[in-house]
Symmetry: C2
Subunit: 665 residues, 2 copies
């Protein structure tokens, strides 16, 4: 998820929970007694997790009952139909100490407008780093307020412990839907009389699935929560990385769940690679090692990549073999303007632990494959395929990863990063195998700013990367030992409904007449992106013309005010809306950017006016699978089943406690 | 596809082709020599088809060359690398006679505005009811204008002739996308902490695929063309039923291709059933037996159901065992206001051929299963699930199938029709097996009018019907002998992006403030459709409350002007836009309906203002498969592959000529 200025503001407030849940006191706790992990949670046998209990005493509002928060609540665990046992006895740990806090929330938008928050006092306990080993159902029971109970039914899935794949490569097209794949195919592949003359690599996968991306407590998710579901088997709340959201103010004390990367490393010594075209502290990469209720703790995320979780006892972690992406500002020294964890220079921190550090494509390609490698190629998000390959003058910005304010002109793409990551992981992992997560982040980021062309360019680059990955795995004779998955973390409500005669659109002076430029059904005609123009690239299957007369009539369904001309944005990523009053901070209201969408139709948005970009959508997203265990990924299932599928394929279930594997560096 | 008044107008003009192809002279003919079937066409061995050749002589416009249309063009067929043989010799038929006509078209929107059509003179020949039997590639070559050639490469697929399934049930959710399935699941199934407590029947299918729905000559399709692709293995043009579009004025002389229903009946004597919630002459059912370039020839479509194609020699056809749906106006006598083929009473025509005729649910359920049965339950499209089950007063309209202007109160749903169709087909087909097509037509029709609630109700009814079908097949011990497919013919750009606090929306007076009622991400909250309200039905898995305070923030991306309040339309299907000037006919311009979307946000549309409803979209649509041959339907493929998959599963390929099977009545 691309954080807009407005959403970024909301997210910053999340730390106090106050403003986060306009319609819910605490999402996974409909009663006043809360158990996290909540009812219906599934677990991998032997997966580490924390338990958080809360008892809520609302002081005002519709739930107020005049009670003080209970200090004497009790908590038991029962396996199957067995006897309920005090949790500290069950897990053979000390009884945690009681914690107290309060928080406030708004019951609805009317309460928000009237500035009437509801205040809740809380008593709480947390059980840290425990695990369930025996498969089957468990009942966790919180008893509070003189006999009220909250029961959580937990299921430890019965999975085989035998390992079925040596390696897994997980591609995530952030925000990528089937609709977008269809559109990318149309502009990137030639068709004659309705028959495509070439195929997307994704179209060649033998197994297709759909996964449901909804949150645990809202039906629309963000990329933090959705990545956590994919990596841990636990759905959670918006903005959460590897934790369930509690109501405390501290963003680092929420109950954690162990991730596929952590499990794979702890239990088997497997090697891990992390690649993204986003700033590398962004949610999708972050969720592999970070554990926080607030995805915006970027500095802490970077530290977690290197050092794992250090504020509580947690799983053993000594850093991935590969960490490639953008976001230099979380690495270079605050002296240069960096925003780093505890003001350290994280290039140095990584180097101290034996990492090579590379800052551009040339170094990336030539660097040896036998060392752990950190590759940071730009400040903020990496340059888009369209700017690296077509509108290259847009690279002239002060974004050098060194922090020296020069331009980051020599940036790799997802393909170069992924292929190098594979070289390193293959070289270093030996018989241990590897797990690589590679994210095409800017499909999402460009959909957020309604920059459909750039988004589809990123999608075609992902497909090209998947194709090159399969070729590399084949060349290294490990294709049959490697499960390749391509999926998304959520969607955007995007589709293509026809074509636009941009010449006719520009020639009209009245918006209602401009709409005549839209051709639907038979008038949509054929794609002009492939059969006209003369752009050529090293990689095939990208448009030969990004600026044809007849473009795609495409868009989202949840928008800020904007002007649409359905033409490529040649000056860099689109900015559809701007502050109504640029002097106002924080921005209360956005209007259509007068410099965007020249000659287009002015359209009023549907989103709250504090939004300057589009939002995520509900739709199930596709899963493409090839390799060992591919059959586990067909049909329709929950996002958490991706975790369980990968964990079972790696044989990570443990019917009894297992020590840390050790570490490699 | 629901025909809007505006689109209906355009469609009516299609007969002359003149206005149909704003951007193309003739879609599948980029040069001046045209061969239909065109280059890249695939065939089932032994499938009947016609060939149409055209030579175009543009009189004016950018293609004008001063030539008269060639009368001496020649046409040859070559198998593989073999010798090119004159087509009439190859097929052992008489050389067809030369035809002549002219047509006009606009080169672009500027030419349309300037009223400057391009005129084209045409010479043509047609070869009727031929077939290719040997698998492999063929080259068809048209030589015209002193040595210019148009070459078409045709492929007869190499398919096994052995039959693998006894029966096929093909469900088509018209316009249904993955996005809609996700939304329907959210409102129809209960979830606790992100885990669904019940599954859609579709979610239980073992095999999932995606099919590409684009037209042969435009990337957006309609339901005629897309159904033809599913049933014949030949993509064609918008508005075409079982033909390639030629440029002649006659809508019944276009080159035909044989359908799965015709093939199954002709070659094996298999029994066919046709069920739809649309008027039964609508495109999706029509495409099984009709062959016309103009889907609006409703009377002729009804005649084709009963008598097959009679104006040319074609495949043997004696009517389906079951024909259930709406559209009584194409059956009852013109004396009662009927609009029938050659002014006949088609209830009588069907009765004469031995059909039982039923007009309501009560008769449908009780009628014997051993006779061919025609069931027509209303004028126009059938009542929607939401009106039959919740807002029942909306049924009080003069729509009796008898034509007597009383109300059609006792209408069956898709489930009752489908289950009865199965009873009849099972009883009558014996060892011959059956093919049943059952269409949930109003998913599409309600999406067209932006009536999301009714559309999702129809989708949930489809899912319920599939569930009941599987139970029936199991009960009759033929589940293992029956391939069950559920797919769509195209999409609409629909998604859900959050929730709407309808109480807050209604309480605001300014549109920009109303937008604050929209909750995205964490503020989308949980679905209130299942956990509130007290509606109950015979069938589970429908919402218990269609009118909660927090509704879905949902919509399309290609709209007319409209007012959105994101609330259920209790007074019957939505009418989002109305004529700007009701006195004007045909309607030139639509504006938001002032009586629709009370208290909502006024939104400007993106479609040409002559549109009063939404349009189709590009997205690949899902395919769910279960039963014999299910493995043929996984992954990503073209819509035509559904035909080839079904045909192979039925074993319909024929390496040498095969007589008609005969007939049954």
């Amino acid at each position: 998820m691309q954080l807009s200025r407005s959403i970024g503001l909301a997210a910053a407030l999340l730390v106090s929970v106050t403003h986060a849940q306009t319609f819910q006191r605490l999402g996974t706790c409909p009663t006043l007694g809360c158990v996290f992990p909540p009812d219906q949670a599934d677990f991998l046998a032997g997966q580490f997790f924390d338990i958080r209990l809360e008892v809520h005493a609302p002081i005002n509002g519709s739930e107020a009952n005049g009670l003080q928060p209970d200090e004497k609540f009790t908590f038991t665990i029962a396996k199957g139909k067995g006897k309920a046992v005090k949790a500290s006895d069950y897990f053979k740990i000390q009884e945690p100490k009681l914690e107290r806090w309060n928080f406030s929330w708004y019951e609805d938008l009317f309460a928000r407008d009237a500035k009437k928050p509801s205040i809740v006092n809380v008593t709480s306990k947390a059980y840290r780093r425990i695990a369930l080993y025996e498969s089957g159902e468990y009942t966790a029971t919180l008893t509070y307020n003189n006999g009220n109970t909250t029961k959580a039914t937990w299921l430890v899935r019965n999975l085989e412990e035998v390992r079925k794949t040596k390696n897994i490569v997980l591609f995530i097209g952030d925000g990528m839907t089937t609709n977008m794949i269809t559109a990318a195919r149309l502009i990137g592949h030639k068709s004659i009389n309705g028959k495509y003359q070439s195929k997307m690599q994704l179209d060649k996968f033998p197994v297709l699935g759909h996964q449901m991306t909804h949150s645990i407590d809202s039906f629309i998710t963000d990329s933090a929560n959705s990545a956590s579901a994919l990596y841990t088997g636990h759905k959670s709340s918006v903005n959460c990385l590897g934790v369930y959201a509690d109501s405390s103010k501290n963003p680092f004390d929420d109950p954690k769940v162990e991730t596929i990367a952590e499990l794979f490393y702890r239990l088997t010594g497997g090697h891990v690679g992390i690649v993204s075209t986003a700033f590398i502290a962004d949610a999708t990469p972050a969720a592999l090692t970070a554990h926080t209720r607030d995805r915006n703790q970027y500095g802490a995320v970077i530290d977690s990549f290197l050092n794992g979780i250090t504020n509580y006892t947690w799983t053993n972690w000594t850093g991935p073999d590969v960490l490639f992406g953008g976001g230099a500002e979380q690495f270079y020294s605050p002296d240069l303007g960096g925003k780093t964890y505890m003001n350290k220079d994280y290039y140095q921190e990584f180097a101290k632990k034996g990492y090579q550090v590379v800052w551009n494509k040339t170094s990336l390609v030539s660097t040896p494959a036998d060392k752990k490698t950190l590759g940071i190629f730009t400040v903020s998000n990496m340059a888009k395929w369209l700017d690296r390959n077509v509108y290259t003058t847009n690279l002239n910005q002060s974004l050098s990863p060194s922090g020296d304010k020069t331009a980051a002109l020599d940036q790799p793409g997802l393909k170069e990063m992924t292929l190098k990551a594979l070289d390193i992981l293959i070289k270093r992992s030996g018989d241990k195998g590897f797990f690589l997560m590679s994210e095409a982040a800017s499909i999402d980021k460009m959909m957020h700013v309604l920059d459909y062309d750039r988004a589809l360019g990123e999608l075609l680059e992902l497909d090209d990367t998947v194709k090159a990955t399969i070729a590399k795995l084949k060349e290294k004779h490990i294709l049959k030992d490697t499960l390749v998955l391509v999926t998304a973390d959520h969607g955007h409500g995007f589709d293509v409904m026809g074509s636009v005669d941009t010449r006719y659109l520009a020639a009209q002076n009245v918006d209602r007449k401009k709409r005549d430029a839209v051709g639907t059904y038979q008038n949509s005609g054929l794609s002009q992106y492939i059969n006209t123009g003369n752009l050529t690239y090293t990689d095939s299957n990208f448009p030969s013309n990004w600026d044809p007369r007849y473009t795609l009539f495409q868009g989202l369904m949840a928008d800020p005010d904007r002007r649409e001309n359905w033409s490529v944005h040649k000056d860099g990523p689109r900015e559809p809306a701007v502050p109504a009053d640029p002097a106002q901070s924080p921005v209360a209201e956005y209007v259509a950017n007068p410099e965007d969408g020249e000659g287009g139709i002015l359209l009023n948005g549907t989103l709250p006016v504090a939004n300057d970009q589009g939002v995520h959508s509900l739709t199930d997203v596709p899963v493409f699978a090839m390799g060992p265990c591919q059959e586990k990924f067909g049909g329709v299932y929950s996002s958490i089943d991706i975790f369980f599928g990968m964990a079972e394929c790696f044989g990570l279930a443990r019917g009894k406690p297992s020590g840390n594997y050790g570490h490699h560096d």
